[in-house]
Subunit: 340 residues, 2 copies
């Protein structure tokens, strides 16, 4: 192999950044180029993807991505060219996408690489529109947002790798799509090139006011990429049965501690689902539950307790009681006798 004496350059994490990450938090290390063992593939890196989620890995705490260890090469997705292969599925000259890192050359298990089709899209697209960010947009709209024709969809960080695709998917579904982005250049591109129905420059306008004007019918789907003031404004204008895709809260990633007050950052990392329930929406469940539970009530295995307030006149006090825990179990007013 002609690469036998070549060196590999890798950026390793030197210290955990305090706030915004910078060059001094990393160190360039040179090591001899590794050779692939059985089932391994050596690639040279062409494109390295930089994504906001990487900030979370720099904290020494559990996250959905494992914490980056000090002294180890920073991880990240790459597109590379195979330069040596000890696996029959890959040949030198193949272009592949995989998860390796901030390094000029990567040694990978063959099973972790995806070969890119010759004559396909531009290589870098496999890290963006056709890669992880694009798939994030697709999955989020398909699995959570589910925009319908005529609905209003708001996309924060609308010119970003995820937001731009998410909004275009929603437009294909027939939704009205309004973006939020930082600066006139991004907003212009979101409207002109992406064809969004509107885009709000959060640096130039009060987002709540601008959203109310841009979304006169309220918001049915909100795509959360940023958190903070944009989130507060969007949450305040959600419609009944709105869906919020919690994809990221980049506005807070540089803060080691969460901002004061409740924050929903955990919803992203923990993939929590928080959903409002009003049983009046599900009339079919009433008879279903009665049929299921009546035998359990009859055999005593489903327990319940009642607090009985006597006489119609006592209804207001009974209502006051259920609001302060003054009842024990189901609160009822006995208005009349069962038999007369």
């Amino acid at each position: 192999m002609s690469h036998a004496n070549a060196m590999r350059r890798s950026l390793v994490l030197k210290r955990r950044p305090d706030g915004e990450p910078g060059p001094d938090d990393f160190q360039m290390v040179e090591t001899p180029l590794p050779q692939p063992g059985h089932g391994e593939v050596l690639t040279r890196t062409i494109w390295l993807s930089i994504d906001p989620y990487m900030r979370g890995r720099l904290y020494d705490r559990p996250s959905y991505a494992p914490a980056q260890q000090l002294g180890e090469t920073m991880t990240g997705e790459t597109v590379g060219e195979v330069i040596a292969s000890a696996d029959p599925a890959f040949q030198p000259g193949d272009y592949v996408v995989g998860s390796r890192g901030w390094e000029t050359h990567s040694l990978s298990r063959a099973g972790t690489l995806t070969k890119l089709p010759p004559g396909g899209a531009h290589l870098s697209a496999y890290l963006g529109v056709l890669g992880m960010p694009g798939t994030t947009a697709y999955s989020g709209m398909l699995d959570i947002g589910q925009p319908k024709a005529g609905e209003t969809v708001v996309i924060s960080a609308a010119s970003g790798a995820v937001g731009a695709v998410a909004g275009q998917i929603a437009r294909r579904a027939g939704a009205r799509v309004v973006g939020v982005a930082g600066g006139p250049e991004k907003c212009l591109w979101v409207q002109e090139a992406l064809g969004f129905d509107g885009c709000i420059d959060h640096r130039a306008h009060d987002v709540a006011t601008a959203l109310r004007e841009a979304c006169p019918d309220g918001i049915d789907v909100y795509w959360e990429n940023v958190g903070g003031a944009v989130q507060a404004a969007a949450f305040g204008q959600l419609n009944f049965f709105a869906r919020v895709v919690m994809c990221g809260m980049v506005a807070q990633y540089n803060d080691a501690k969460p901002p004061p007050g409740p924050t929903l950052g955990f919803v992203v990392g923990k993939r929590v689902r928080i959903e409002g329930l009003i049983v009046f929406d599900k009339p079919h469940r009433y008879a279903e539950w009665r049929a299921l539970a009546a035998p359990w009530v009859a055999d005593g295995s489903l327990r319940y307790r009642e607090t009985i307030s006597e006489g119609l006149d006592s209804a207001p006090e009974a209502l006051a009681a259920v609001l302060t825990g003054g009842n024990f179990g189901k609160m009822l007013v006995r208005v009349g006798p069962e038999r007369i």
Copy 2:
């Protein structure tokens, strides 16, 4: 009819309560007993259900329940006995459940009433365990909470009409169930009679500390009935992929204005779904999206934009840029040329 000269007593809303509702907010009105017209049924009220959601109707603002109008009879679910019917489906002596109000007699369209089976459960059960609160618990666990065997489920207001049933359903699913209730008597009942695996008295203990002790494996399903400090404690201990059933936030119902800081009260009333998304959980979506979107990229109908940072050494600055909006579209580092 022997009821021709009888009177009906009704509690009408006199003024909107400021804080806790009381007797002075309502007025008792006597009117002649109505007679059923074609397709109508006259019932005498036996049981009137008192539920926390009623507080929301007393505000003059849109809610999932229509605002209660001043001077009109307060609405509520009742069990009654038919005393006159102008519909062939109902006969005097039938027991029925329906949505009418705070009144001794109700005139209803026959189609709004459900006849109760003779020899069934105690009549009041059809307003509680077998009625709206029981169905709420059933629907919330079936449609949102979905507890699995071995998971940990936390139920706030655990001795209440909804919480008691929700917890018992979760136990039948094989989950470990911990309640939160106010006072030792309720907690004892929740553990002894309902068979919950534990119950925390939020008046006697710091809920966060007690929850950590009672839920050493974290919380997989949190049933929200109360909001406030209990919510904050439970949210802090949610597991990955946890589900939160937002059923009510009774701790805040007497407050005309929401408490300071973000609050999730709107999630209940608006049935909002807020869900965390990490695309790494959905590996099957990658190839699906590439197959779908590659033609759109090829024909130019799916637009994207890239910001390219030159050389591996620039990766730290590139990461700093995506965290502050310094990029425009997908951020990439060009580590090497596409062809050498």
